[in-house]
């Protein structure tokens, strides 16, 4: 005999804890703590040179070994978190403001404004991210500020395009028409009724951008266009260790892993957010 049971729709997602979100969030929290209290946590002074223990492999005294002038790599990575993280967060913050403002204005008001903004965005989008960043870094100078400006500038065009599209979509919604029939001004409609509904998309994009920012920042540091030595920025550390690659591979591995972990943390967090808020889209 067969038991007759009503067909159950296949569950699309497991309910409950989102692993990516929590993995990303806890890693980010850890990095944030390191960035805030780096010096207190670091076992050694990150800039103290010790010419008697140069290029030492990992040991009990130096868990990740030492570099070419005998500085403790673990301490440099811990203290360097601050550079990478603050560059990533600052560029994402400023790119968020710029991208959202441009995209919202272009999308909401349309017409000539939209055509001008879209034209500029499309033009900038044809330039690869990193090339644009290099160009700006070479003008703005090799410093944390220059790096932030460069990364910010490379994030604004794609973000503006994303926001523009979402705003155009939302402006067609009935509740926006309803807000107009209630007599609200454009500014109010944009700020109170349209942008809050675009927030999810913006936040997800920005958290993924943060991971990108870590990569671009490190790449520019590696190329010598970022934070200058002796500051312990991860990309700069990678760049400085290039010459010792065959002698002391741990010099490259440690900052490499740090960069990967931070990028992974941001991406997992962003993907997790997307799964939670926007389950329809595929990641």
């Amino acid at each position: 005999m067969h038991e007759v049971t009503p067909a159950r729709p296949a569950r699309r997602r497991r309910r409950g804890v989102n692993v990516f979100l929590w993995l990303g969030a806890s890693l980010l929290a850890l990095f944030a703590l390191l960035a805030l209290f780096g010096e207190a946590v670091a076992p050694h002074d990150p800039n103290a040179q010790d010419l008697f223990s140069m290029l030492e492999p990992p040991s009990a005294a130096h868990l990740l070994g030492t570099d070419n002038v005998g500085r403790d790599i673990l301490s440099r990575i811990i203290v360097g978190t601050r550079f990478t993280l603050s560059i990533a967060l600052a560029s994402v913050f400023f790119a968020g403001i710029g991208g959202v403002a441009l995209g919202a204005i272009a999308g909401y008001f349309g017409g000539v404004t939209d055509r001008v903004v879209t034209g500029i965005i499309d033009l900038l989008l044809t330039v690869p991210n990193i090339v644009l960043a290099i160009a700006i870094a070479s003008v703005a100078g090799s410093s944390a500020t220059g790096l932030t400006i460069a990364i910010t500038a490379s994030f604004i065009p794609p973000l503006a395009r994303l926001v523009r599209g979402r705003v155009i979509e939302l402006a067609e919604e009935d509740f926006v028409a309803a807000a107009i029939t209630v007599g609200m001004s454009h500014t109010r409609i944009l700020l109170r009724h349209i942008l809050p509904n675009a927030a999810t998309v913006i936040i997800i994009e920005l958290s993924l951008n943060a991971g990108q920012a870590v990569l671009i920042g490190s790449a520019l540091g590696f190329l010598g266009l970022g934070v200058q030595p002796p500051a312990p920025e991860w990309g700069t550390m990678l760049g400085a260790s290039r010459e010792y690659l065959t002698m002391a591979p741990h010099l490259v591995i440690a900052p490499g892993i740090a960069i990967s972990l931070l990028v992974l943390a941001f991406n997992a967090f962003g993907d997790g957010l997307r799964d939670v808020f926007d389950p329809g889209s595929s990641s």
């Binding site: 009935d174 107009i180 209630v182 007599g183 609200m184």
Partner: protein, 330 residues
Amino acid sequence: MTPLLSIQDLTVELSARDRIFDAVSDLSFTVARGEVLALVGESGSGKSMTALAIMRLLPEPVARISKGRILFDELDLAAASEASLRSIRGNRIGLIFQEPMTSLNPSMRVGPQVAEALRLHKGLDAAAARRRVEEIFEQVRIPDPKRRFDDYPHQMSGGMRQRVVIALALACDPDVLIADEPTTALDVTTQAQILETFRDLQAAVGAATILITHDLAVVAETADRVAVMYAGRIVEETTTEKLFAEPQHPYTHGLLGSIPHVAEAGSATERDRLTEIPGTVPALWALPKGCAFAPRCPRARQRCESERPELADMAPKHRAACWYPMGGAG
């Protein structure tokens, strides 16, 4: 009753895909304070366009008012500035939307959405606006208004949301209320409740009301007067009783014939067959030269095809645009 809102020769021009045509042609009607005028017609008859035109919310440049005046309290809305329109919309003219599921902002609690209008137009502070919104929620019969104030739209049923939409339209005690198919999206039992609430409130506020619908049952329950629209023009206009008792235009007659009645004896054989109107509404860019309804009209004669009838008095308070009206009782 003096008219509060007076539409004169309103013409709305649409330009879509290199065709230019009138979606609404030479429309004239008036609504007095406290009165409910129903605009009835099939989709494409121009009734929603009329509502949008009155609110000056036509999607320009696709649609625009090309002729006519919309007189509201001595102001011509058709020529009013954006700033004066903004102070009138929501404040003196309220609009109830068709779709309760989409006409509320999903990311904002419902109470603040209504309060926003009050703060904007009446200058109330947050506390006073909240008290007023709770009162209005009570009036539109939202149970437990104090708690519902803080709900998000997705926490409410369709009927409840439509009550919020009505509350939003009525928040500022408007002089004119336009309701575009306010119950179409709801199920039948909810429809009846919402209509009752709507009618009570409309009477209490005394707003001149334009009710846009395709549903003659809604008209019978709610409206004082009816204007029947066909292909962008009013073809018949009279009181609700007269329209149902003695429709003059063959189109109105056809509409009334297409409503199902429950047969008194109840047996299938005695049930009246529904009459349908043959054919379809003509495309607005290819209207016949004469009466737009002539191709579908069982009474059409030669004159109907060559000459368009104007609205004319058939009886006191009863206008119709037809060369060969039904006359007598149906």
